[in-house]
């Protein structure tokens, strides 16, 4: 199966090449959808074949020596273990869904061809990352993904925030990639090769010190960058400036999962390095809680989902830190499904409603206008919140269970490594998981209420004001809007001291709402273009600026339905003890057998492979869920017409601003860097160049001086010549 896997990334690569050719030649644009979708779909099918073919066996590997370097050699190869096969399926399915969705969503965009080419290239790179047996080749895919992400976020490069976001994403992830590269080099130096298998063996046999420990800690940099963990999480919310399918593909299901995937792939390396686990746990805990709070406070639908992604990724990282590799991968896959679903649904909503501002969306009766989207989004949000029986419930519960196992274990464990993560990490992760579960439930319900909440209750705004405002397509200026909102609030609820204090925040948010409108304007305008060209060309179903008529093209709804179905049933994969684990395999690529696990012949203790729900963790998860839902419901009832996130109180503004992580980065990295650059510039122009200029000046002065003696008097010249002759003669005559 690994031989097949070797060739799978070529399919999307060929697709990308063909699309690039189309894009460059400008001909054959009609073939673009087929070129974009079919190879990816074929690759997805092949990933299924690989998964089935791999089954529950041990890792297989086929490789070609690419370059004999004299040192560690480079291998082009595929290493298929359960993890790679499963993640490849996730990538293939989501990429296919996104390409299919983009056919109608982006089809009439001017740059659709290059856009789909980049998606194909991105998919190829991700498959390389997933399958590669060589860490350097993995790094190549990793960086290609980063570059594709840069281009795709900047797809609407006419808008400054898209440009800024793309550059930010690129720089921030690259900032993490530097230690990532060093980490790979350390690991390779320790094991003497870049191949995964020997590196894992080295870590298992030698334990976590020296190069292995250093490599593990350095790798975390790249993981933080790609998977948007504190302190490198800031790029992901901004990356929502890209088209919505891109957000679904890259920033929900695949690329950001690459960081988690690498940790899972090299899990023994981390497992033997408690320091690395502690770093992961602390960063993930911080990330998951703050990002959940931020998601609670956002108004832009895509930003809510972005922060939610950050939070959920942190949950996976936390699970990894707590020894729950299987739980983390389980959550990775379920999250990939439902987050892609949520983003694609958000895309439909944004095209339909013309805005991504949940405050405005809630007035548009989306429940009736978009029935399919309503149902699928509800499923997605329920899965996000962790409502049983959707997949999110099981995966989160398994994380809580894994954390609980780690927290409560005592004494040496029966496993190949003989160690589990420190109990402190377990407690930390358990608390973080439950807190995040609570918050996630709260913001999921809030989002649902804002999107599909009952209109007749006058949610957030009075219907009268809405009818006044609705026709004004270009929004009023921020200030007047702020006043209007303040007025709306005073009408609905009597002003309190807290609300008065919050007045300035409302003004801020009004400006934000403005920006959200502008941000989504490009996509909406694209949709309008699409409708215009479509009408002109074929006079098909009319799509005006805010679409009327059918909810959305089939190509957009089909992925929603499929992903919703997957989200509904996928969770049951974790029910059976050891079933998921046997597909996933052991952390070092060997096959999983329950008996071997019980006998302590696998990497981790037996408990770590069990995803089946435990009674306590079910109760805790349900408790968190109920609390979260309850808080939001109570808040919504307490102040009808107000965004339920007012329960955040004083946290609301910092959470809205992402806890000012941007400012922190600015102060810690950007400004010192700029200061250093200024200093270097100063050194260059004033110190280094001073020597250069000085030599010039010196030569000039020397020339001026020598010019003075060019009197034209031949006798003077001759005097000089003869003096020289005499001196030379004297030197020759007396020099010996």
């Amino acid at each position: 199966m690994s031989t097949l896997a070797l060739w799978i990334p070529l399919l999307p690569l060929l697709s990308a090449a063909a699309l690039a050719a189309v894009s460059l030649s400008g001909r054959g644009r009609r073939t673009v959808p087929a070129l974009a979708v079919l190879p990816i779909a074929a690759a997805a099918v092949l990933t299924f074949v690989v998964l089935v073919g791999h089954g529950t066996g041990a890792a297989t590997e086929s490789r070609i020596r690419y370059a004999a370097t004299g040192g560690p050699e480079l291998w082009l190869g595929a290493r298929v273990d359960g993890l790679a096969a499963l993640i490849a399926v996730l990538v293939g399915v989501v990429a296919t869904a996104v390409q299919l969705y983009s056919v109608s969503y982006m089809a009439h965009e001017e740059r659709y061809t290059s856009y789909s080419a980049l998606i194909s290239l991105f998919t190829a790179a991700m498959l390389v990352v997933v399958y590669s047996t060589d860490l350097l080749v993995l790094l190549v895919g990793w960086e290609v993904m980063g570059a594709c992400s840069y281009f795709l976020i900047g797809h609407h490069w006419e808008r400054p925030e898209a440009r800024g976001a793309s550059i930010k994403a690129f720089l921030v992830t690259k900032f993490g990639d530097v230690p990532f590269l060093l980490g790979i080099l350390f690991l390779a130096h320790g094991a003497g090769t870049f191949r995964v298998q020997p590196i894992l063996q080295h870590a298992i046999q030698q334990g976590g010190h020296g190069y292995t420990a250093a490599g593990a800690i350095l790798l975390i940099g790249g993981v933080m960058g790609k998977s948007a963990q504190v302190p490198l999480q800031t790029w992901l919310p901004d990356a929502m400036a890209g088209p919505t399918p891109i957000s679904a593909l890259i920033h929900a299901a695949t690329m950001v999962a690459a960081g988690v995937y690498v940790v899972a792939r090299l899990y023994p390396v981390f497992l033997v390095t408690p320091a690395a686990l502690w770093i992961l746990a602390i960063a993930a805990t911080l990330t998951t809680v703050t990002a959940a709070l931020s998601a609670f406070a956002q108004r832009d639908l895509k930003r809510i989902l972005a922060y939610s992604t950050v939070s959920q990724l942190a949950l996976m990282v936390a699970a990894l830190a707590a020894g729950g590799r299987d739980a983390a991968v389980f959550h990775l896959m379920s999250h990939g499904g439902f987050k892609a679903l949520l983003f694609l649904g958000a895309g439909v909503i944004i095209h339909k409603a013309g805005t991504g501002d949940v405050d405005e969306l809630n007035t548009q009766d989306l429940r009736r206008k978009l029935p399919v989207t309503f149902i699928t989004m509800t499923i997605g949000l329920a899965a996000l919140a962790g409502v049983p029986p959707f997949s999110g419930f099981f995966s989160k519960e398994s994380i809580a269970g894994a954390a609980y196992d780690t927290a409560t274990h005592s004494g040496p464990t029966k496993s190949l490594l003989g160690l589990t993560p420190p109990a402190g990490i377990g407690w930390l992760v358990l608390v973080a998981t439950l807190l995040t579960g609570f918050l996630t439930a709260a913001y999921a319900l809030r989002t649902w209420l804002m999107l599909f909440g009952p209109l007749e209750r006058g949610w957030f705004r009075s219907a009268v004001e809405l009818s006044q405002r609705q026709p004004q397509a270009p929004a009023p200026s921020g200030v007047s809007m702020a006043e209007a909102e303040a007025k709306a609030e005073t009408e609905v609820a009597p002003p309190t001291a807290a609300d008065a204090a919050a007045g300035s925040e409302w003004a801020l948010e009004a400006l934000v709402a403005e920006s959200i409108r502008e941000k989504t304007a490009a996509e909406v305008a694209a949709a309008a273009d699409a409708s215009a060209s479509a009408e002109a060309a074929k006079a098909t179903k009319a799509k005006t600026k805010v679409r009327t008529g059918p909810e959305a093209p089939r190509a957009e709804l089909l992925p929603l339905v499929v992903l919703a179905a997957v989200t509904t049933v996928f969770g049951f994969a974790g029910l059976n003890l050891g079933w998921f684990a046997s597909w996933l395999g052991d952390a070092d690529g060997n096959a999983y057998h329950a008996k071997a696990a019980e006998a302590g012949k696998l990497i981790q203790p037996a408990d770590a492979y069990h995803l089946g729900p435990g009674l306590l963790s079910i109760l805790l998860a349900l408790l968190a869920l109920a609390l979260g839902l309850g808080v939001v419901l109570v808040a919504a009832r307490a102040k009808p017409g107000t965004d339920p996130n007012h329960v955040l109180g004083f946290l609301r503004k910092p959470a809205f601003l992402g806890f000012r992580a941007d400012d922190l980065q600015d102060a810690v990295v950007v400004r010192p860097t700029q200061a250093a650059a200024d200093a270097v510039g100063f050194l260059d122009t004033e110190v280094v160049d001073a020597y250069v200029r000085g030599s010039g000046h010196a030569a000039r002065l020397l020339g001026e001086g020598l010019r003075r003696i060019q009197t034209g008097n031949v006798q003077l010249y001759l005097t000089g010549v003869l003096t020289g002759v005499v001196v030379i003669a004297a030197a020759l005559g007396f020099g010996r």
Partner: protein
């Protein structure tokens, strides 16, 4: 042929040579220092004549007469003509020495010091008898070696003399050609303008 002998042992020829040499040297110094150009030319004649005496003492008879004939006879007259044609000041003049003279004096002294010390170091005790060289210095001997061994340089020299003759005539003539005259006139005008 050559032997070494202490410097303290002096012969009559040597005393004579030193006397003639002092005359030559003194005349040379006067040549380059006197403020009357005509006197300088005449002192040059004395110096070159003294040099002819030195040649005689060194047993170079033919060369000595050539020296007298050409230098004292021809070159000195030529120089006097030159002085005349350039309307050089006949009497004493202070304009004869340039501002370079002190540097020139230093260079000249240094040259003298280097050369004398090197030569003295090299030939401190070398001694030879000029009488043995008398046969080499006769017109016959010089003529035979000139036409036996040095015919080609001799002929080349005649070509050189011809070229110098032609060159001197070309340089001295006023109306070489129309173009040259034009150029010369332009140069004249420029000179006059600058003057």
């Amino acid at each position: 042929m050559t032997t070494t002998r202490a410097l303290s042992s002096t012969t009559g020829v040597e005393i004579t040579f030193v006397l003639v040499g002092l005359l030559t040297f003194g005349a040379a110094i006067l040549t380059v220092t006197v403020r009357n150009l005509v006197h300088a030319a005449l002192w040059l004649v004395v110096s070159l004549g003294g040099l002819a005496g030195c040649y005689l003492l060194l047993a170079a008879e033919f060369v000595a007469w050539v020296q007298v004939l050409i230098y004292v006879g021809a070159v000195a007259v030529l120089l006097l003509f030159g002085l005349m044609l350039t309307r050089a000041p006949i009497g004493r003049t202070t304009e004869l020495d340039s501002g370079n003279r002190w540097a020139a004096a230093v260079v000249g002294l240094a040259t003298a010091g280097v050369l004398v010390s090197v030569v003295g170091d090299a030939v401190r005790t070398t001694w030879f008898d000029p009488r043995q060289a008398v046969v080499n210095g006769t017109a016959k001997a010089v003529g035979s070696s000139l036409f036996r061994y040095w015919v080609l340089p001799f002929e080349l020299l005649s070509v050189l003399l011809l070229a110098a003759l032609v060159g001197a005539i070309v340089l001295s003539r006023r109306d070489v050609s129309a173009d040259a005259e034009f150029a010369m006139d332009a140069a004249d005008a420029e000179t006059e303008a600058e003057a």
